[in-house]
């Protein structure tokens, strides 16, 4: 029995080892190695990479990264909730179709989709021209290269990741509980707030993590559609990697970010 149990949990343990422990350790390992000029890592140990953390622009960039990530996550959840609700309440045939619709956006190359947004939002693009004609925006206004552009394209890119776990949770939610809540005098809105949201708590948490965490490391979207004002910490990591070819510094920034995010979680866990 015990052996069989071990055999059953073995794939999960292997998963833990290969996909969590190894890369995390490796990044911390690399962060303390010297860089070589050809982009590799040298022998011995070095604290040189830690210097990357001393950049005076970093506090502002980190604050901006956290803010954009937070707003993207919040808006993704807000948009994803009614979609997940609709999917969970649909009949099985519609469920299949709606799930396909959530999956379909993957089908076009990510880069191409971002470039498509660039075309839509371009100063001479379709949308800007329309808005200018309707005099809804100034003729000098830029739709592109704004922090809000980064926000828009990020929400677009991460929405499926928010919808899938919310849908999974809503699917398992017992909707008769909402009948019960209304029967007991709750309005539709209160029933949703006091019964539905607590009921899909785990799904909300998963969705928030799945959006927030990769947003923290996001670099392609701010690079392509954001301006200087919307640079994120991910761009800094990518620069160290590609431009400076300094892997240890990139690893150090990444490790610091991981620690900054993981720490509050670990502390909360300890307390509860």
């Amino acid at each position: 029995m015990k052996l069989q149990e071990l055999r059953a949990t073995f794939p999960s343990l292997l998963w833990l080892l290969v996909f969590v422990a190894v890369p995390t350790c490796l990044i911390f390992y690399i962060a303390f190695k010297p860089a070589t000029s050809n982009g590799g890592i040298g022998a011995g140990w070095s604290l040189d990479a830690m210097k990357a953390l001393a950049d005076p622009h970093f506090p502002a960039i980190i604050a901006r990264t956290l803010w954009i990530s937070f707003v993207t996550t919040a808006l993704c959840l807000l948009i994803a909730l009614p979609v997940a609700w609709t999917m969970a309440r649909a009949n099985p045939q519609w469920k299949q179709r709606l799930l396909l619709l959530v999956v379909v956006p993957f089908w076009t190359n990510f880069l191409i989709r971002v470039f498509a947004w660039k075309q839509i939002l371009h100063a001479e693009g379709f949308l800007a021209t329309l808005l200018k004609k309707l005099q809804l925006i100034d003729s000098n206004a830029m739709l592109l290269y704004q922090p809000s552009t980064v926000l828009l394209v990020s929400i677009y890119s991460f929405l499926p990741f928010a919808i899938l776990p919310l849908y999974a949770a809503a699917e398992k939610f017992d909707f008769s509980l909402l009948d019960a809540a209304r029967d007991l005098g709750a309005s539709r809105a209160r029933a949703i707030r006091q019964v539905f949201l607590p009921g899909i708590r785990q799904g909300l948490l998963t969705a928030a993590i799945v959006v927030f965490i990769p947003m923290l490391g996001s670099y392609i979207i701010p690079d392509l559609v954001g301006g200087k004002e919307s640079e994120m910490i991910g761009n800094k990591i990518a620069q160290r990697n590609f431009n400076d070819r300094n892997l240890p510094q990139a690893a150090a920034i990444s490790a610091a970010l991981t620690l900054a995010v993981l720490l509050p979680f670990a502390l909360r866990r300890r307390r509860s």
Partner: protein, 384 residues
């Protein structure tokens, strides 16, 4: 004066007619049961009273006020759901307090009311437990307390005991009855279990195919079923089909059931020779003896052979073949009967019943025979 009234309610789901022109009046303080098989429309009616469904046509009145289109949260009715529908993220106390919180009562009031309810359903010690930590019977009690704490005008109960074991079901039914006596509010009780409905109800509406078949007290429903569905669904019965031979007196006739069986029938309406009749005869009304009983006025006597017997502890059911007829007789086990030795399979026995115990049905449908508990020798036609 009717307290809760359904008027000409109709409701379809797609092509399926769930409720087909139902009119019902429920008196204040009654336990009123909707009884019928799955899909008969009883739960749909209850959900319309709660406000979860809207009728396609017809009106619902509560205490004289039209509540047909009122949303659930504005109706002074509360529901005990079949699957309990307790909130898993709240504990027992918080579940019971939910309705009072929604009504924005003060904390002190809420605490004292919830405590009162916890005492009523005997769950003081479970107050701080999670819903997943308590048993099925306890969940049922929480569901009742959560509904009653709001002092509804009508308590709606949707098969509240269906998910429980038989013994627990019997016990909670008694508790439910005691709670009704205590709080005195109107109960609308939905069930498919006739013994549940019989033992708790003041009035029963028997439903089938979205229509009310009969409304009456348990006694009326059982003793004077209008049609073959009611007779067969409420308890067990024997159907006797035949033709009137001639009238004996104002209220009795002679009827031919089979080529060689003629019985006396009591009729509540005038019958003429040649009229077809359908009789319902309850198994417990038939007396079974091993020796030939003396003749008596207004009494039917037949002799036959026992083809089947099922022992139920407090009673035994015998199926007796009398030429083409097969009649079920129920015999209670007690030491005061005249004969001590129980009859067995293959024995020749006499059966007798008073003419007034056979009840003449107003309508008869051969399909309803399938509701009877009848050992069928024809079930298996082929031997392997």
């Amino acid at each position: 004066m009717s307290f809760l009234r359904f008027e000409n309610i109709r409701k379809s789901f797609g092509d399926f007619r769930a409720v087909d022109d139902v009119t019902l009046s429920i008196e204040k303080g009654q336990v009123f049961s909707l009884l019928g098989p799955s899909g008969c429309g009883k739960t749909t009616l209850l959900r319309m009273a709660a406000g979860f469904e809207q009728p396609d046509s017809g009106r619902i009145f509560l205490d004289g006020i039209d509540i047909t289109t009122l949303p659930p949260e504005q109706r002074k009715v509360n529901t005990v759901f079949q699957n309990y529908a307790l909130f898993p993220h709240l504990n027992v106390r918080e579940n019971i307090a939910f309705g009072l919180k929604m009504a924005r009562h003060g904390n002190d009031f809420i605490r004292s009311e919830v405590d009162r309810m916890l005492t009523l359903v005997d769950l003081e010690e479970q107050a701080d437990k999670r819903i997943s930590q308590i048993s099925g019977g306890q969940k049922q009690r929480v569901a009742i307390a959560r509904a009653l704490v709001n002092r509804p005008q009508v308590l709606l109960l949707d098969e509240p005991l269906a998910a429980l074991d038989l013994k627990l079901r019997q016990r909670l039914l008694v508790e439910l009855d005691a709670i009704h006596d205590e709080v005195g509010i109107t109960f609308l009780y939905v069930t498919h279990d006739q013994s549940e409905a019989m033992s708790i109800s003041d009035q029963i509406a028997v439903m089938n195919h979205g229509q009310v078949q009969q409304i009456g007290t348990p006694n009326e429903i059982y003793e004077t079923p209008r049609n073959s569905f009611v007779a067969a669904f409420i308890g067990d019965t024997n159907f006797l089909t035949g033709t009137v031979e001639n009238s004996l007196e104002a209220n009795t006739s002679l009827a031919r059931i089979d080529d060689d069986i003629t019985i006396i029938v009591e009729n509540d309406r005038p019958l003429r020779a040649g009229d077809p009749i359908h009789l319902s005869l309850r198994p417990e009304k038939i007396q079974l003896t091993r020796s030939e009983p003396p003749t008596a006025p207004q009494r039917n006597r037949l002799t036959g052979i026992i083809e089947d017997a099922i022992y139920y502890g407090s009673h035994t059911r015998y199926w007796v073949r009398c030429s083409s007829l097969k009649l079920c007789a129920e015999v209670q086990h007690r030491k005061f009967s005249l004969e001590e030795k129980a009859p067995h399979w293959g024995d020749t026995v006499w059966i007798q019943w008073q003419a007034e115990d056979g009840f003449l049905l107003h309508s008869y449908n051969a399909e309803d025979e399938s509701l009877l508990t009848l050992p069928e020798e024809e079930l298996i036609e082929e031997t392997p």
